[in-house]
Symmetry: D3
Subunit: 242 residues, 6 copies
């Protein structure tokens, strides 16, 4: 049985990445995973958090938010509730950890790169799109620093991309859209590097516990999907990074 | 002396409007005034504010915000400061008043249309772009309500558009970009209808007071600019509204 | 047809200004426009905002608030809602811009004068009363700095006053009280200097658009009203300032 | 040795009470204890807190705040810090308890009277001035309810007034001004009824512990002071309440 | 090489669970994983969130917090920063999902059980201790509902416990204490049921990516640890639940 | 007529103090007054508030909070309401003043001791338990500073303890439990030193005014109770302080 949009279970949605999407930012992309669209910007800040002061090392941090009407029904803005949503907190922490895992902070020097991920339109897998797109924005911000001779080399040790997988109607599926995600009994997000190493695995079976075997099959799906995403990232950067 | 980008003093920047930009919203546009880019969505809500309950009348309200890196240096998010910026408050009140001035609330019925204006990239005149784009989103949301037979006719009484004018280096100029705005001694925003009536005039001479004559010249410029913007709005809607 | 309180359309309400109303403040007044009563204080602070640090120049900023029962029905305090009201934000920005337009920041030196406008009783036109009264408080705070030999001359370049005008039942009226304001189709606030120059023009036709001709008539009314207010300001200051 | 302002140790400062100070409020006074000036308003609200719903009984609550420049150096507003100050919280709880102690909630019926105490100018003893003045505002709001035939009788069982006493330079003193309060080793606020009964005793020896004997002497002073304040309250109300 | 406290790599710290620790709560435990101590309470609330209203189904939600001095250096309270920490948000969402996965909401009926996890003393693995202890509190709250004949059976479908594992100095270790956690290159939290099914897997290699093989070894360790924890849970409940 | 738990009117509940309850803190106790249980920690911070900077003197401050389920019905957390409760504010100010009254700030030197009082289980008199327990935590934190040779002597000038008294069913009673407190017409908290001096007296007759004679009887009860509490404090510290 094919998926809602005719995809095969191991097939990504169409991925589109527009670089330099926001002129002001040192790095920025608009990334699309099907109808999911996220603006990712990378901003260079000369300051570092207190725990990095005087260490000669830099930092990468992330913020994630959704426009009010990126979703099917309008969300009240965080500022109207005076609370960052718990979900956004969870996601931006994931994005930050994922990107930091491939940054050489010593080479970056005492500065912070702030990654802003703002979801313009949500159709599932916004966090994995955000990670995959932010990596390009981060690369471009680093290239900017090299071009300006602020640092001597790109302080990125590996490619990073992320994908969702899930168990939907008893089948493992890759890159869930919103409707699939809503019907998934297991929902999983995987972040990996170019060399096939895992950075983050977050699997949740709130609706139905899952077996080690199912976990393993889903990881297989994710690995293949991430390999494809990293190819797309490389094509996108071609000419600007080798 | 020509302007920074070669425009004449009474010339608008290139205006671009993409309708149905966000699939989930009842009405949505991406509007560009040169490098200024704003996403405007119109969301229909079945509730009205307390002062409209039981009146049979609807309401239109607006929220305005900027993405952190829509500006040259990154802005801290409102939620991180736990305060909506005073400037955003001022602007969203202006947008709300401007749109409400052409809505027939009785025909709209007891529902609220929430206009969200999120600035993706800022290069001056974000509030006038927001008003001009929101009008299209509002029209489309009303068409949606008519198509769904929720209301019987488009409850909009007139077209509305807005433009900035200013006194820069002693010359009156139309549709200021960021750098012109920064150097303006007088900064003015004008909202008008199709039939040449004024809805809002906000002129501020914080850096240098201005004369009645200068006010009049700037209003002339604004009027011509708004007429052009309303032509663009009509072309955009052609086929979808008469 | 005379107005509610028997005034002519071009007539101000009784204006009363009590200087040195709060002993602790460097400048302070209680100003009354009819039943509208506002306490305006000017406080000198040795610090300046970051963008003025090291420039040798000062700054003027303003905060506006209403006591909970200054209005017909009790308002919940900002702190109980954890939000400064949008309207107060809009008004305090207007007050700040209006006063800054006549301050020589170089002569003031690197210090901030904070203007607090607290409405004790509201009967329309609180923002114009606040601007008109704050100017006196600002002058007195500057005189204090001169008397203490902290600065060498009054760093104020011109008088500033403000007045409301509106279109009520088809007639242009000056200095609207609350009930007139509630029935106005056009509501306008004008800030001018002693020499007849405009500082701020804010006209809003939320209930009915207005013509250039109506705008002009209302500006005429405002100009005459402001001239009278500046006479009252000069009488108030007589002996203390020339 | 006389006090700073020449008063005797058992002497109140000049007390002044202006009734109906704010036209909109059901009850309101401006009360002065010397240079301490507080606006107290009593607002009638048709709702009651959840724990009173359906009981047929009413409630009295209080809020206390200071204008930013009521003090020698300007205070940042609560809303700018997003926190009600701990001191204001403590004081408004005291005011609420003190007034509730003399209200017959059954006779008041299911409605709330909200007491707002806003300090215009502070020179010590603001909380005792607030309690003493609020009692008059409360009485006037109750008279309003009786006049409107909403309730059948004044639901107040006794007069209430409050005064500060303290141990300054080894001497017990009544009604401390700011400078005396700053030098007091013991600071005490007493709330009493007309018939000499205690409602609140709050004595604090943060700078030096005190003896039972000193407590007793201070209570004597307070009792005499409160008797005088209640006389002043009665004169103020004369004709309006017996 | 033995661990800091002499444990073997696959050994839990001493686990201690005191039931009915807080008299007021429907269910409550003090749970200790070594020096980590968490108070878990389960409170029954008659209301459900909006999305459950009228469904006949209940809900389980969780809040997690740390006492200011549960950590080596004192943490500023959330309320002083006006922000729930991102980490606490992430953890309480994990606790909620984990417990909900074994609750039969239909049998629970339209009521919410609120799980509060307050860390008294932190020495690593607070979230896994919180989940393991909260399960007992949840069971006891359900027993309370059965005893009171509010529901007819315990609406819990399986046991749930959680444990941390990590890669420390190249070795996989179970149940990390704070110092081990600080030195771990991979940090993982696993939630499982009695029958060996996975509920949550969260593995993070911020400091060094990890292989599928390492993931698998860590899951083996976790599974054995959770089996032991569930035995301890069963012993704790013995007599009160079968 | 005996009390609910069989105590005599002048009898304390069983008092239990566990020192060094939280390993991380410089001083910490779990104190129990019957079923009331409070964790008190004393944390040493190298900074002082602005008004102490450069004076060579230290400071002591306090924060008080209740766990959500320390009470009969669950309390919403402060952070969920974004407001510190007024009651908590009042109590933590009382605790701070009480402890500061016996600290020699010069001997303490420029550092702050932060006292955190977190109520684990509430059954009346939480604030007096908090003061009595915090004194021990404060002593232990000072001993820590002496042991580490950071200061040369314990900068505490006297013992401090606190107790509640009240008028319940016409009888004066010592150390009220929750149910007694709920029925008390007068509620009083007294803080005293070892040598019988008063530090704080807070008596409140919200439900019924009280006489000087009743105040005096209650103070007698309190004095005897505090003498007993200080004996318990001394036994607790025996060996660690003389």
């Amino acid at each position: 049985m094919p998926r809602l949009d005719g995809r095969k279970n191991n097939e990504l949605r169409k991925v589109n990445i527009i670089r330099n999407y926001i002129h002001h930012a040192e790095g920025s992309v608009l990334i699309e995973f099907g109808n999911t669209r996220v603006i990712c910007t990378a901003s260079v800040d000369d300051k570092v958090p207190p725990f990095k002061k005087g260490t000669g090392e830099g930092w990468v941090t992330s913020e994630y938010s959704m426009l009010p009407r990126s979703t099917q029904t309008r969300n009240v803005r965080d500022i109207s509730k005076l609370k960052k949503s718990g979900r956004s907190n969870e996601i931006q922490r994931l994005i930050g950890r994922s990107l930091r895992s491939v940054v050489d902070f010593r080479q970056l020097g005492e500065r912070t790169i702030i990654i802003d991920c703002d979801v313009i339109q949500a159709d599932g897998s916004t966090r994995t799109a955000a990670i995959t797109g932010s990596f390009i924005a981060l690369m471009d911000a680093c290239s900017y620093l090299v071009d300006k001779k602020i640092i001597t080399g790109i302080p990125i040790t590996d490619f990073v991309a992320a994908v969702s997988v899930g168990l939907v109607n008893g089948q493992e599926m890759l890159d869930l859209c919103y409707e699939e995600d809503s019907n998934a009994t297991v929902d999983m997000n995987v972040v990996m590097t170019d060399n096939g190493k895992l950075i983050e695995v977050q699997a949740s079976g709130e609706l139905a516990p899952f077996s080690r075997k199912e976990l393993s099959s889903m990881l297989d799906l994710a690995e293949a999907g991430i390999n494809n995403l990293i190819k797309i990232q490389k094509n996108t950067l071609l000419g600007g990074y080798k």
